[in-house]
């Protein structure tokens, strides 16, 4: 096989456990000329805010940024669905020359009159940062005129990475808190942060908490509503999933409202159970909660375990490669895959921090490849070298996996199937099983060559 050169600058972002020992270089912008799997600041903000279904999301900029994000995520709503519409100021050449403020104001007026949203988010994209529109003051003006919060989100694509987009989104969310009275909220209450209701996951998780006797004040932002977020300051605890995106908001809320937070993950049996136990332990004065948690965990595991064991028989020894957004998700997936008897041979993330990568190194087996912000060349190189049977990633990685003749499981925001919670673990196992065990691989060139 033709050797694949790894660019000098990229070598520091790749690590093989047991072989090398440098600090993983991460958290910086991608190299010019690379085909990165990363998106932009705007993308980060969109991911976080978009599931708020009774707000309008107006993308201020030329058409592409809005067109490519129209309804791309499977974040469900139980009511209004304004988030599924794609609004853009669709700036034209004259707007670029004379400024887009007037068009922005007109667009907001029209949308608010037509759709009567509870709030409006205005996302600044790259060129807005260049042409110098005063988005802030347009938002203020429209907000006063229309009597709803109109919140600028500073998400110019080039001003940082996706992480900065998360941060901008957290700022926007923070502005919506403490806008509604917080009376009548139970002492045992939480906000769920960083759960986006992909395929209805937030509903599954909310139901668990309800069953153990914990009130969920708001979910940020899955099936989100502006008024619920307005009461979120009344909750006793913030439970943060997808720490990469929402820890920042949790910290802001801790500072201002004194709400402590814990980090959890809802993927896989252990992490899901820990997410419930940790909350129960927090409300330790209420013993009933812990009792109910124990019962729930037992019941739910019993429901799925036999089926998992059955699949494990065939999956044992198969090899998986992961490429996901955040490291926390990577941790959960590694554990979940071990439950299925599978070995993880490659882990990559888009936005890990140095601490995250340290933890990741500890969790992984010898020989596992760890990558930050990998490109398709690098991903393929290691997939082949390690002989993976399964690739877990986003839509952009799917064709590479398929071309190389290995199974694929979508673990990103675009999937339609809930993978969180216990029932989600079963769905995940089925997804993995269906792809890895398909007979089509036998016909692929790689398998034919290897005589498998």
């Amino acid at each position: 096989m033709e050797a694949i050169n790894i660019l000098e600058e990229r070598k520091k972002s790749i690590f093989e456990k047991g072989k090398e020992n440098h600090e993983l270089s991460c958290d910086k912008v991608s190299l010019a000329g690379s085909v990165s799997q990363r998106a932009c600041v705007f993308c980060g903000s969109r991911v976080v805010l978009y599931p708020i279904a009774d707000a309008i999301h107006l993308v201020h900029g030329p058409i592409g940024c809005a067109a490519y994000t129209w309804d791309i995520r499977g974040a469900l709503s139980s009511g209004p669905e304004l988030h599924r519409l794609s609004f853009s100021t669709d700036l034209s050449e004259t707007d670029i020359i004379y400024g887009g403020e007037k068009k922005l104001e007109a667009a907001l007026d029209e949308l608010i009159d037509e759709y009567k949203p509870k709030a409006a988010f205005v996302y600044s994209t790259c060129i807005v940062g260049i042409i110098g529109d005063d988005v802030e003051s347009v938002c203020k003006k429209v907000s006063q005129k229309k009597g709803i919060p109109v919140i600028p989100v500073h998400s110019e694509g080039f001003k940082g990475t996706k992480k900065d987009g998360y941060k901008a989104a957290c700022h926007a969310l923070f502005k919506l808190t403490d806008r509604e009275p917080a009376q009548g909220i139970s002492k045992c209450s939480i906000n769920i942060l960083g759960e986006f209701n992909i395929g209805g996951e937030a509903w599954i998780i909310k139901d668990y908490y309800k069953r153990i006797g914990v009130e969920v004040v708001s979910v940020m932002t899955g099936d989100g509503r502006v008024d619920e977020i307005g009461r979120s300051h009344g909750a006793a605890l913030n439970v943060v999933q997808c720490s990469g995106s929402m820890t920042y908001l949790a910290k802001l809320m801790e500072e201002k409202y004194g709400i402590p937070y814990i980090r959890v993950s809802y993927f896989g049996i252990e992490d899901m159970s820990a997410a419930l136990y940790d909350v129960a332990a927090f409300f330790k004065d209420n013993l009933k909660i812990m009792d109910k948690t124990k019962t729930l965990v037992r019941e739910e595991i019993n429901k799925i375990y036999p089926a998992l064991l059955e699949m494990r028989k065939d999956l044992t020894g198969k090899k998986a490669a992961l490429y996901v957004g955040g490291t926390f998700k990577a941790f959960s997936l590694i554990k979940a895959l071990r439950h299925l008897g599978m070995d993880v041979v490659l882990v990559g993330t888009q936005t890990g921090s140095p601490e995250d990568y340290k933890l990741l190194k500890e969790l992984c087996d010898e020989g596992t490849i760890i990558l930050d912000d990998a490109n398709p060349l690098e991903l393929s190189k290691y997939i082949i070298e390690k002989g993976a049977d399964l690739f877990i990633g986003g839509v952009k990685e799917r064709p590479i996996a398929y071309k190389l003749g290995l199974g694929f499981c979508d673990h990103n925001h675009e999937r339609k199937i809930p993978l969180a919670g216990y029932s989600g673990m079963l769905n995940f196992a089925k997804e993995v099983y269906d792809t890895v065990m398909s007979p089509v691989w036998k016909l692929t060139p790689r398998m034919e060559k290897n005589g498998r």
């Binding site: 799997q37 900029g61 067109a67 707007d95 029209e110 260049i130 694509g157 064709p399 060139p445």
Partner: protein, 463 residues
Amino acid sequence: MAVDIKKYSVTRNACKLCTPLGAALAFSGIENSVPLLHGSQGCSTYIRRYMISHFKEPVDIASTNFSEETAIFGGGLNLKRALDNIITQYKPGMIGVATTCLSETIGDDVPMILRDYKAGKKLEDLPAIVHVSTPSYRGTHADGFHNAVRAIVDTLLPVSEDSRYTGEDTTGSSKLVNIFPEMVSPEDMRYMKEIISSFGLKGIMLPDYSERLEGALWFEFKRIQEGGTKLSDIRKMPSASGSLEFGRILAKGESAGRVLKERFNVPLYNLGLPIGVNETDRFISALNEITGVETPDAIKKERDRLIDSYVDGHKYVSQARAIVYGEEDLVAGIVSFLTEIGIKPVLCASGAKSGLLESVLKDINPDFDKSNALIMSGADFVEIEEIAGRLKPDIIIGHSKGYSVARKLNIPIVRVGFPIHDRFGGSRILHLGYRGAQQLFDRIVNTIMENRQEASDVGWSYI
């Protein structure tokens, strides 16, 4: 007829994409090429994702990855670094540089940067570098596509080489013909090539992503997928006996075919997208004219079968009311086809606004005025939905993004064009030629039939 509807400042559910997408797609149709977007990373990542969801193939589009400093001090350094990095990693034959809104707005002078870049290098070490200016606030993805195709011809075939081309056939026995196929599917491209070679011609298709964006599985990793127009073939284009260029709207402006005509006197055949019998007949007679050869039997028979089926199926579609949307040239082609089978296009919409759609539709069909069809330029899907609600069509024809309209109004949709995101096999939809018309006709008849069958109380099992 123009549409009477309240015009909004805001675009809601756009019926167009941004220019660099078209350019990246066109560049992907050149052998061993890497498209590079000059701007920040999000654009190229989003565009890749969008194309991957349609083609279900790896799509590599590099980015010069602007940071804040780049936006302030200019993108020259990033562009040069990007070229260096792509050359080491991919060893490409061509790099297609398309600008984005960002690099255009800060005013990067890309031609100058490229000249500067080349000045510091040995020319034989460099791949061909083609630049196209594609700010998205000017035009749509269709413009990006055409401009990139033209830029390839313009850059690779400079005027100074004029003398080398005599217009004579240099390939021995078979005559050369250039074909600029528009933004069509890989299946369309394969079929066009088949037709051309059945006339005994050697066709040079630009671009040709029929293999690269619908290829086989791999034995091992491929930096760049196989297939695409060969650079060496592009260099032969000036000696072709003719250029066939699809797109009646395109014909009104600057185009690759026109460059070849003006520079090298290659006869230019401006044709509509050959959708349906009438437009395909024009395409075939252009081939007759170029070759002096009769239409091969196999093609004639395809045409015969098609017309036979038109007769068999005409009643099911006669007077049916259709909404058509998409790129202007595709809309024109589909409308031409619908008109010949008796379907009434009641709304013809595009997100683009060349201002030419109406006149082109009239060129195709002199009776167009009498049909009272509405024509909408700069349309978005919320507007289309509003008008569709009033028009009560029987069928919607266009790409996947119209599904939300179809669902809301409970009207069946026949998917054509790009993108096909909610169905399998978008690359294999055949639109062009008699065979493409056959498939479209069958699909449309069956869709209308299925709808009636479902709605029927008895659920008949014969037609």
